[in-house]
């Protein structure tokens, strides 16, 4: 017998929720197809759909993969297996992150490919696209942490509402920051200090959220 059942739990989650991943990826590809038609309307429409697809996935996955396990009482089934709560958290974290990052990464690569090969947007916009695309990853980490740690649908929904209302504000602030927007219409992507600091802050927030989740989960005494 293998020492840990984490791989089996991850495979189980991937199998159970693969439809969500495929649908959101399909929606993202559709959005990119609209974007690459050219013209301002297609660009606005396509980029909106693109981010909506990612944001919906960021909200839906933690709810369906973590909250529903508790709500539909399948958590007792999983916890009856030879698994500790930290192992369960690890498996859940890995599978949910994989399910989110796979379509997110593929869509990001598709978007960057479109920009670089078809000149849908100036190359100077690439850093900004990355900054904006990372925001839903931060939001996803917060919702996932809230769902896992709080064990409450209410807190997970609250985290979702906070994230969704923050995206607009954050994007607005970013587009109004001269040090970030100075080069976005240029023909070359400029990776200056302001861009790198913001990207590092986003990655740092994701790491902090994951670390905090493991810390709080390891201190729990009651799991069901």
């Amino acid at each position: 017998m293998t020492d840990s059942v984490i791989p089996q739990l991850i495979r189980k989650d991937l199998r159970l929720h693969r439809l969500q991943m495929v649908v959101s990826f399909g929606a993202g590809v559709l959005a990119l197809a609209v974007m690459q038609r050219g013209g301002e309307v297609s660009l606005v429409l396509g980029s909106t759909w693109y981010f909506v697809a990612i944001i919906v996935l960021a909200c839906l996955l933690p709810i369906s993969m973590v909250q529903n396990e508790r709500k539909k009482q399948t958590l007792a089934f999983v916890m009856s297996l030879p698994v500790s709560y930290i192992q369960y958290t690890t498996a859940k974290m890995v599978s949910t992150v994989l399910m989110f990052l796979a379509p997110w990464l593929m869509l990001l690569i598709c978007a960057l490919t479109l920009i670089t090969t078809r000149n849908t947007l100036p190359h100077g916009a690439i850093p900004m696209i990355l900054i904006m695309a990372l925001l839903p990853v931060v939001g996803f980490s917060l919702i996932l942490a809230a769902a896992l740690v709080s064990e409450s649908e209410g807190w997970a929904i609250a985290a979702t509402v906070i994230c969704n209302s923050t995206y607009g504000i954050a994007w607005y602030l970013i587009t109004k920051t001269p040090s970030l927007t100075a080069n976005w219409t240029g023909h070359v992507a400029i990776w200056d200090q302001a861009v790198l600091r913001l990207l590092s802050a986003e990655v740092g927030l994701v790491a902090l959220m994951i670390g905090l989740t493991f810390l709080l989960q390891s201190r729990k005494r009651d799991f069901i």
Binding site: K12, L16, T74, M79, L81, V83, D222
Partner: protein
């Protein structure tokens, strides 16, 4: 090797409106213990502690020799746990569930799983959401039994089942015990189910173990004596009699340590013993709970 499948010593767990108070119980390997208690008595909390799902505030829990919750992963490799509030994945088939469990337990007995599938009238290709409650319980039990666990922990497995399904499940549990190394902890508020299959009975009420002993010993020790009490005769307080209720000339005495000498003692006091009745496990449980509550409140 430890010859106890379960050993709980002084387990305490405090919640805002409920607490487990120094729970101690022992289940020797190869035996079936029925854990009987009313709703909210503490059965599920006790079981969750011994499964490592809840950490006790105080006391020691050992399951198959492993301290819980510290070594729950190792312990759960040899435990088959099913509870009334446990659900399988609705959108998947029973076949998918068996493959999933098989990938985790190398002892999975595919031939036995097939036998159970047939015996329980289940179909591997049917999705869980299309199954009745009874079929879902049987599916869960199939997944638990075919992994050949050393210890079965079943928390109210027969709740909500029709008589036929209950009978099928109890019969299968009895079959499981043909393997003498197996142990079962079976919780229920249905005393009939517990009485059918258990070797030992433990009563739990309001977070306390109020009694625990061999089933036959319970049935042997507990008796109800119907007495006729002539006017002027006062029934004596006798050891082993926990309750006496008198209405006019008739009285009913409940004994938890019956010996033939009790009847003689009442006769000597001037009362007439009309009959001595055996008690069902349910009657013993109710009398035990009432007696325990009176003692606590006194």
């Amino acid at each position: 090797m430890n010859d106890l499948a379960i050993e709980l010593t002084g387990i305490c767990k405090k919640y805002r409106y409920f607490s487990l108070d120094k729970i101690s119980l022992k289940l020797p390997q190869g035996e079936i213990m029925g854990l009987i208690g009313a709703n909210g008595a503490g059965k599920s909390t006790t079981i969750r502690i011994l499964m490592g799902l809840i950490h006790q505030d105080d006391g020691e829990a050992r399951v198959l020799g492993y301290p819980m919750p510290a070594e729950q992963v190792a312990a759960k490799r040899d435990i088959g746990f099913a509870s009334e509030d446990m659900r399988l994945y609705d959108s998947m088939t029973l076949g998918w569930h068996t493959s999933f469990i098989q990938s985790i337990y190398p002892n999975w007995d595919a031939a036995y799983a097939q036998v159970l599938l047939k015996r329980f009238g289940l179909r591997a290709d049917q999705k869980i959401k299309g199954l009745s409650h009874g079929q879902r319980v049987k599916s869960t039990l199939l997944l638990v039994l075919a992994r050949k666990p050393k210890l079965l922990v079943l928390d109210e497995p027969t709740t909500g089942l029709d008589p036929v399904a209950r009978h099928e499940i109890l019969r299968e549990l009895a079959n499981v015990m043909a393997d003498e190394g197996r142990s079962i902890l079976f919780s229920s508020h249905n005393t009939q189910d517990v009485e059918q299959i258990s070797d030992r009975i433990t009563f739990i009420d309001r977070g306390r173990i109020i009694d625990s002993m061999d089933k036959e010993l319970y049935l042997d020790r507990w008796r109800r004596l119907r007495l006729e009490v002539p006017s002027g005769v006062h029934l004596p307080a006798l050891p082993g009699v926990i309750d006496v209720r008198q209405q006019g000339r008739l009285a009913v005495a409940t004994a938890n340590a019956f010996v033939p000498g009790l009847a003689n003692a009442y006769e000597t006091s001037g009362a007439r013993v009309q009959c001595i009745e055996n008690m069902t496990l349910e009657e013993i449980f109710v009398a035990n709970v009432e007696h325990s509550r009176e003692e606590v409140e006194a």
